[in-house]
């Protein structure tokens, strides 16, 4: 249950933010989710819609998910390429010594609130 684990902390982080900023109602939560973060967005939204009801400040919120494309770096030839298209093997030099540069994140970009 990867998604539920993240949602629990997401809600905790938002409640904390609301307390700090004196917010009573969050209406939109915009997340940046990496393409290879392993988060299934449909399922994530279902979890959110179920879970937000437990938190008065989040009750009316809508989740907006921006997908961040994954990029891999090849340490053999020094180039970057699209992870999802080519996978682990560098399309330029066929090396397998490659590392994910971005695409694994789950970040709260911004919220709309009052």
């Amino acid at each position: 249950m990867h998604e539920m684990g993240i949602i629990i902390h997401l809600a905790g982080t938002l409640e904390e933010t609301a307390r700090e900023e004196g917010l009573t109602r969050i209406s939109r939560v915009t997340l940046e989710v990496g393409e290879v973060s392993g988060i299934i967005t449909d399922y994530f939204e279902d979890c959110w819609n179920y879970f937000k009801k437990r938190h008065p400040v989040l009750e009316d919120s809508r989740l907006e998910i921006l997908t961040i494309p994954a990029v891999t770096y090849c340490s053999a030839c020094g180039r970057e390429y699209e992870t999802v298209k080519y996978g682990r093997e560098c399309p330029y030099c066929k090396s397998g010594e490659t590392w994910l540069v971005r695409g694994n994140e789950c970040v709260i970009k911004e919220i709309e609130a009052e």
């Binding site: 249950m1 990867h2 539920m4 684990g5 993240i6 902390h9 997401l10 905790g12 982080t13 409640e15 904390e16 933010t17 900023e21 209406s27 997340l31 392993g38 340490s75 682990r88 397998g96 010594e97 490659t98 590392w99 994910l100 694994n104 994140e105 789950c106 970040v107 709260i108 970009k109 911004e110 919220i111 709309e112 609130a113 009052e114």
Partner: protein, 221 residues
Amino acid sequence: MKVIELNKKATASNDRDAALLREELKSRGLFLINLMSAAGSGKTTFLSRTIKDLEGRVPVGVMEADIASDVDAAAIEALGAKSIQAHTGGCCHMDAAMTREALDAFQPEGGMIVFLENVGNLICPAEYDTGAHLKIMLLSVPEGDDKPLKYPLMFEESDALLITKTDALPYFDFDLEAARKRALALNPEIAVFPVSAKTGEGMAAFEDWLLGRYRAFTESA
């Protein structure tokens, strides 16, 4: 209505809980170690060996979160060490709140080294700070030396990498040097120890390192 830019990790609240727990444990002189690996890499076997080797030198306790069964906790108890079965509520990892709950139930004595055997999974446990003072990961020879390329985060996050089941090296094409190089490329600070919990090979070097870290911890507490 106003728009507030946050750029905060979704799991930021866990990071805060973890930092608090880490400080509290330090003031109680409890050294918590988060032990992570894929399922079956040899965490429980390795812990059993470590407990035997450290007997009489430092008190060791184990909190088992591996959801496979409670066989693991039983195996540790059989060695005479204090242990408890921790519960993740179906989650694929332990977080700081679950770790705190497990510690409250466990009630370890001050000065103890407490190992948290995390859920067998190379991905999620690396993403959640449990409040541990030290993170140790295992990669077993049968899993292959390419794992740092596939699952970089755990290698980036860990203080030590144990390459386990080295007694099986003759039967697999696992390149120890390649694995070491890949791990160090991700994390230049990581300490790498090839070990076999079966034969005991390499365990002493790891245990010396561990006791060194434990001493540094108690002296700074």
